[in-house]
Point group: C2
Chain length 311, copies 2
């Protein structure tokens, strides 16, 4: 058994995970991100002990711990180099948790861990797998020959930060026109609001009112109810997603690309048009095509994937 | 010693190459691309025998043969799957040359071979290396952990076919706005011609007349002579190149990116501004930066790299 830890800005979620990537039991506690990093590590150790006790095993029976952390990670040395949300700059999180538990600890970026989590189901037959998460931003993890792509400095795999429109929409990274600025849910909400302004009678207004805000679902719900303006937003969003996926296919030609993040719960309603667009537009006209699927684990992917990083 | 073969639409260039990637001697013959594929292979075998004889060794002393071929290659099985210029669809070129020579034969895409060639100099200290060739198109090769990225179907590494401008300039691959449609020399010539139309007094007209045609050098030569319109073309071209390089850095974070193709003979005049732009705009603000260099081998890279593929 392994421990997978999904370290978020809000919660620390810890799971006891089987060899084949199933969560056996889990527990969580608030991150309280303003406090010192070492206090967060103490809570991790406490939750590991709690889970071991509940399972009736010794902590030393656990084969390893994986932590999925936001920010830039020095994977080789188990260090959080930089993160926006936590007081963890240059923090040797793996060593600190090892001191408290005696366990072997590995750390990776949270998006990479989610990629490892979604990959578990396919690992026996798929060697090259790209996970793309469409959320506040666009993140992801690139698994090549069963190993995570980190780049020489640990900062690789930032698939959301490919410019797909030069001088386009402002991206959080400083560049203009990154894929993230079109295919993130943040971008979808922006485009939904723009379409609502232009279409005061669109059903999107009603759906937004019902939910109390414009969300990533607003345009999808209204589109499904037959609203033309919403359908345009959704169609355009699928193209934005597909342009980036096509880029990834042309670069990597992986066996599989998995689309995750909350919006991927739309399933084939989003992934169907994306798949069609990619298959029509990718560079490969003579070889087998990349399979495009939607994610299945959602929130559990972080814990499971972190455990798999430890494995 | 190895044999490296650069199979082009015009010439078959064959070289005897040392273990450490130096061309010892070479020979070539016209491809005559309309003829049957097997005739081309016979000429390859003939040139191998000729080079061995000149060197005073037996063909069987050669450790292996590498072929760099245009088109889609089934690297694992040594098959040319598809190519525009040669009658080689689904042609088992490795087996055929093996039958004639008794030598072990490997085949890879010509751009991948050029990448391997340029990589030789750095292979002892660099594990992740991307070669980008700016020519008629934009091609390249991605070397990760010292191995060429092929994708699961052999069609990977098409770095020129990342859309950087949705609905932008038409690309030969069918998509609109690929990097190739902005950063290739073909694109540079198109943009030079457009600027010349708008600027009838530009020095570009004189340089083009001197060379007998608008080439990739026209805008660079005029820019160096102080021509404003030409400087704008060159500056914009450097940005186009840099946008794509930045995308590659954000995805791979490789230790080194090498820019090749004829236009890279401009050296720091092109690569300097590109490097500056990439360093300013890439996603990585906290880690070591990717080194950006220009190619050194040019025409020899294909032969040397093909030999290295065999090695």
């Amino acid at each position: 058994m392994y421990i997978g830890i999904d370290l978020g800005g809000t919660n620390i979620a810890v799971g006891l995970v089987s060899e084949d990537g199933k969560i056996i039991r889990q527990a969580s506690t608030p991150t309280l991100n303003e406090r010192e990093a070492i206090e967060i590590v103490k809570d991790m150790a406490m939750l590991i002990e709690k889970l071991a006790k509940e399972e009736g095993i010794a902590v030393s029976d656990i084969k390893g711990v994986g932590i999925g952390s936001p920010g830039s990670i020095d994977f080789d040395n188990g260090i959080v180099v930089y993160t926006n949300n936590l007081k963890m700059d240059m923090f040797p999180i793996a060593d600190e948790l090892n001191k408290l538990t005696g366990l072997r600890v590995a750390v990776d970026n949270d998006a990479n861990c989610a990629a490892m989590g979604e990959y578990v189901e396919y690992e026996d037959k798929v060697k090259d797998f790209i996970f793309v998460t469409l959320g506040t931003g666009v993140g992801g993890g690139v698994i090549l020959d069963k190993k995570m792509l980190h780049g020489f400095n640990g900062a690789g795999g930032e698939v959301g930060h490919i410019v797909i429109e030069m001088n386009g929409e402002q991206c959080t990274c400083g560049r203009k026109g990154c894929w993230e600025a079109y295919a993130s849910v943040t971008a979808l909400i922006r485009d939904t609001k723009r379409a609502m302004e232009k279409n005061p009678t669109s059903l999107m207004h009603e759906f937004a009112k019902k939910e109390g805000a414009v969300t990533g679902r607003t345009s999808f719900d209204a589109a499904k109810a037959g609203d033309k303006a919403a359908q345009e937003v959704v169609n355009q969003y699928a193209i934005y997603v597909a342009e980036g996926i096509t880029n990834l296919v042309n670069i990597f030609q992986p066996e599989m690309i998995c689309i995750g993040g909350g919006i991927s719960r739309e399933g084939e309603y989003l992934v169907g048009p994306v798949r069609e667009y990619v298959n029509k537009n990718d560079y490969n006209k003579h070889m087998k095509k990349t399979e495009i699927v939607s994610a299945k684990l959602f929130n559990d992917a972080g814990i499971i994937g972190a455990a798999m990083v430890a494995r």
